[in-house]
Amino acid sequence: MNAQAHILSAVTTKFGRRDNATTLALLAEAANDCLALAGVERRDIDGVLCGYATTFPHLMLATLLSEKLGLNPAYAHGMQLGGATGAAMVMLARELILSGRCKQILVVAGENRLSGQSTDSSMQTLAQVGDAAMEVPCGASVPTYYALLASEYMHRTGLTKADLAEFAVLMRRHACTHPHAHLQNAITVDDVLQSKPISSPLQLLDCCPISDGACAILVGARPGPVAIIGAGQAHQHQHLSRLSDLYDTGAAAAAARALAEARISRNDIDYLGIYDSFTITLAILLEELGFAQRGQAANAVRQGRYSRDGPLPLNTHGGLLSFGHSGVAGGMAHIAEAWAQLAGQAKARQIAEKKRAFIHADGGVLSSHISLILSATGDTA
């Protein structure tokens, strides 16, 4: 048994188009950088958790990667939980540390999702989170599932397209500070509103890009700069057709479990890493999680609440919307950035000292929810 699990190091590769980089090469790049940053020996890694890759659907990615990296873990497997996979793997790594099963676990994910397949192929693969008999045959895809959520949420709260655009602009502004971000050209609310229509009410810039990239996080029993002090999950539905109340997707249930375990309240949180596959995802999650009033998250953006110098900085790397989305690694990047900010390792983009980060990821169509609570320990990385 171990009393606490810590994140010892966390890194991302450059996200974006990485021509000629295979999925395995991206995974290895992130893993090697992560081990080097923590200064650990390979023989001391006794656990490996690896996220799935749509461009490389291998049956045993964790052990394949272990062989390629010269690792000899006592515990290893892959995981598939859509966009929630990264946060779920970090939660599991913590459980494995707390139980005493492992001492040092490499959590890693990545893929060449952009250069390894066509956009159509990516859209068709992702669309399968919908029901194969009743939803996919309607000509729907993930952007349409979230567009449907957006239409209902806007109808119910009064949220507008200009409100949604604020999230895209904020994420782009944050991405401009990170050298690994996929998209860095500045954009305005008008640019978002004038971008190509995808599935109404969502325009192109309401949607995250498809990126190549990888992320690795080392979770261990020994002291480190950031402790994982709470975690919670909720899985209330798989399909959008079965989401009966848009104000109760499961996000709040996961958050309540994590906060109860950490024995803190929302008021103790001073950094947010929230899943942002689409602008509407951020609006719904921030509001259900209780970090904004219903229909008010966009106004909070305008008031600077989630800016780098605001009281509750959000996704200071630029999120999926601008840092990029390379599948599981895209969702893990929120955790890597929270670690860097809490550990004082964010270099030129370091914000004012922060103590407690709330991380939330969703998989499917707001189907699977994972909340994590990270706490700065004061130890150096």
Partner: protein, 118 residues
């Protein structure tokens, strides 16, 4: 018009809750005694999106098209396509629509004096 198949729901023989997407157990009471229930296809539009960026070449040829979530009068919500003039809150009626190898529900506005198929 044929409203069968896609509009077939499952009704719990114990608690009476009705479900779409053909579950194997009732999510309310856990009973596995689920019986087929033919929906009359009438419901209210909950969500509506006009798809411009279609997922493949076949759908691209038909874009833009409208996808909706409809709360059926029997309780469950289902996804379907719809006529371009429908909006959230509209009363609609759906029927099975086949396109080469796939089929889906297609909804249009429902006139209350129109007799729904049974």
């Amino acid at each position: 018009m044929n409203t069968k198949r896609n509009l077939m729901l499952k009704r719990c023989g114990r608690c009476g809750n009705t479900w779409s997407l053909r579950p194997f157990a009732c999510a309310a009471c856990g009973s596995m005694q689920l019986h087929d229930l033919q929906s009359n296809g009438v419901g209210t539009v909950r969500a509506c999106s006009v798809v411009t960026r279609a997922p493949d070449a076949r759908w691209r040829a038909l874009a833009p098209y409208t996808v909706v979530l409809v709360a059926l009068q029997e309780g469950p919500t289902v996804m379907g396509q719809a006529d371009a003039d429908v909006a959230i809150g509209d009363l609609v009626v759906g029927s099975r629509h086949a396109l080469s190898t796939t089929d889906y529900i297609r909804f249009g506005r429902h006139q209350p004096n129109e007799q729904p198929e049974s």
